[in-house]
């Protein structure tokens, strides 16, 4: 089996020896300008992953061939409303989230409900790396090497009963760790906390649905949903709930955060679909972060061969 080393840095990032040896002169010469520049960027995420490394072999059968997005982009351009509505808020503020200790309660219509400690979860199932494309409902996309295991492995472990038809995900509710969960006047800026998401059971059991604990060879950075999130690559990014504390199997379609906030804009299914526009913008094209020209958005984000059968006979304009 091929064991991939975590990508740590490129040879282009290694400082040439003569600059290293001349570093005092260089620092003195660069002077105030360098200081000003570095202070500006002080809150930006590092260019290379930090945190504990995670060993996982890449599963090529479940990986796209596209080049992964720069780590720095993937960790500084995030939608994670628990930290704020701006893309740069999560990277700046995510230090308050404590990914240890952490437990995930798996309950509901199951024969063997169980609360997993996060480290137990990491050991209980074999981890693999999968390079998925991620399409945000805001018409931008990235390519991320995730590390995790199929959610179905966890669900099978707890044995869903025959009444279980849906899976509901709940993100941590803790205003101490998620500053934007503190409600201001009228809660103008907020969603209904905690963040909730959901899938049909067959979607949750689909082999592409990945319970995710890492990316770029390391544990998840806080701003990307540490310590555990789900990734459903054929749906818009907001379906992929972050910092999950509870996974419940339920009989009825669960209420989901964005659907509650704006039901006409964000449906329960929210499959990537270039033909169904968001009410305020087109979904026909997307900007891949790091690219200049827009590219065409693919049906089910390019995963149609694997998932189209889940929706056979459904009117996807109605069930958007």
């Amino acid at each position: 089996m091929l064991i991939r080393r975590a990508p740590q840095f490129r040879s282009s990032e290694i400082t040439p020896e003569r600059f290293y040896l001349d570093r005092r002169a260089f620092i003195a010469g660069a002077g105030a300008l360098a200081v000003a520049a570095s202070e500006r960027r002080a809150d930006a995420a590092p260019a290379a992953p930090q945190g504990a490394a995670l060993k996982a072999a890449r599963n090529d059968a479940f990986s796209v061939k596209d080049a992964p997005t720069k780590f720095e982009s993937a960790t500084t351009y995030n939608n994670f409303y628990e930290f704020g509505v701006n893309k740069e808020d999560p990277a700046r503020l995510a230090g308050t989230l404590k990914p240890r200790p952490w437990t995930v309660k798996v309950d509901g219509l199951v024969a063997k409900p169980k609360t997993f400690d996060i480290d137990e979860l990491l050991r209980a199932f074999p981890l693999e790396e999968r390079v998925y494309s991620l399409r945000c409902v805001e018409a931008w996309s990235m390519v991320i090497p995730w590390i995790g295991f199929p959610l179905q492995a966890l669900l099978k472990r707890v044995e869903p009963t025959s009444q279980a038809k849906y899976v509901a995900f709940t993100t941590l509710l803790d205003p101490e760790q998620f500053p934007a969960q503190r409600k201001g006047f009228f809660n103008l800026g907020g969603l209904d906390w905690p963040y909730t998401e959901g899938l049909r059971l067959d979607e949750a059991m689909h082999p592409l649905t990945l319970l995710t604990v890492g990316m770029y060879g390391h544990v998840l950075p806080n701003q990307n949903g540490a310590p555990v999130r789900v990734v459903i690559p054929w749906k818009y990014g907001f379906k992929s709930a972050k910092s999950i504390v509870r996974i419940s199997l339920v009989a009825d379609q669960p209420k989901t955060a964005w659907n509650i906030a704006a039901p006409s804009e964000y449906g329960f299914y929210s499959n990537v679909n270039p033909e169904v526009s968001h009410p305020r913008w087109s979904q026909a094209t997307e900007r891949r972060i790091g690219e200049f020209r827009r590219r065409s958005t693919l049906m089910f984000n390019g995963y149609g061969d694997q998932v189209a059968s889940l929706y056979a006979g459904m009117d996807l304009k109605k069930f958007y």
């Binding site: 351009y77 893309k87 907020g190 020209r293």
Partner: protein, 216 residues
């Protein structure tokens, strides 16, 4: 204010209005335009268009409230800078965002209300910019020119709707901008009504003619 003061004021406005562009250029040079530079540039230019437009629209209410008039000479300069930033904002949309994909842009203008509003606002700014010269004021006549330039109120409303309709759930600054537009237009309406009423009171003792018009 003397001639020196007027020049200093104009220079100050030029510097302040060009600063956002200089900052944008500096951030581009230091590779600090976020992971999505095109979106960042578009939003940056849009924000500054709106801010400069609001400051142009604030000059008259400032006179209404304080009685000061020195700021009125800045209307043309601020208005033209608003048009300048709006044009840059629009150019970025054409050039960087859609890269001359005319059919997609046309579809967006028709189908997306927020883009319709943005286009309408920019379109209304064009005749205002074209007729901003002193020669044009003379050619049109002060009354006609004034009537034409009331279009800027429509521009402000369109700009507010443009922002309200594009902002996603959770944002709040679009309400602040819309509130300022409402305040600035509301102050004008209040002042116009007040003056009309005063005129009527002044006219009434001298004339028995029916008072149908409230504004002249």
């Amino acid at each position: 204010m003397g001639r020196r003061g007027r020049i200093a004021l104009k220079v100050f406005v030029w510097v302040v209005c060009l600063a956002p562009l200089a900052i944008l250029a500096y951030r581009a040079w230091t590779d600090d335009l976020t992971a999505n530079p095109i979106s960042f540039i578009t939003n940056w230019l849009g924000d500054w268009t709106f801010r400069i437009l609001l400051s142009a629209l604030a000059l008259t209410p400032l006179r209404i409230v304080t009685g000061m008039a020195w700021q009125m000479s800045l209307r043309r300069l601020l208005g033209l800078f608003a048009f300048f930033y709006a044009s840059l904002h629009f150019s970025v949309w054409i050039l960087l965002d859609h890269f001359f994909n005319w059919s997609q842009m046309a579809a967006d203008i028709v189908k997306r209300p927020y883009i319709t509003m943005g286009m309408l606002a920019l379109t209304c700014l064009v005749p205002l910019a074209v007729t901003s010269t002193t020669a044009m004021i003379k050619r049109l006549g002060a009354a006609n020119w004034k009537r034409l330039h009331r279009l800027v109120y429509l521009v402000a409303v369109c700009a507010a709707l443009h922002f309200l309709w594009l902002a996603k759930v959770g944002r709040t600054d679009q309400y602040v901008y819309a509130g300022i537009v409402a305040l600035l237009l509301g102050l004008r309406a209040w002042d116009a009504t007040r003056r009309a009423l005063r005129r009527r009171r002044v006219q009434a003792p001298f004339s028995s003619a029916p008072v149908g018009r409230t504004m002249s």
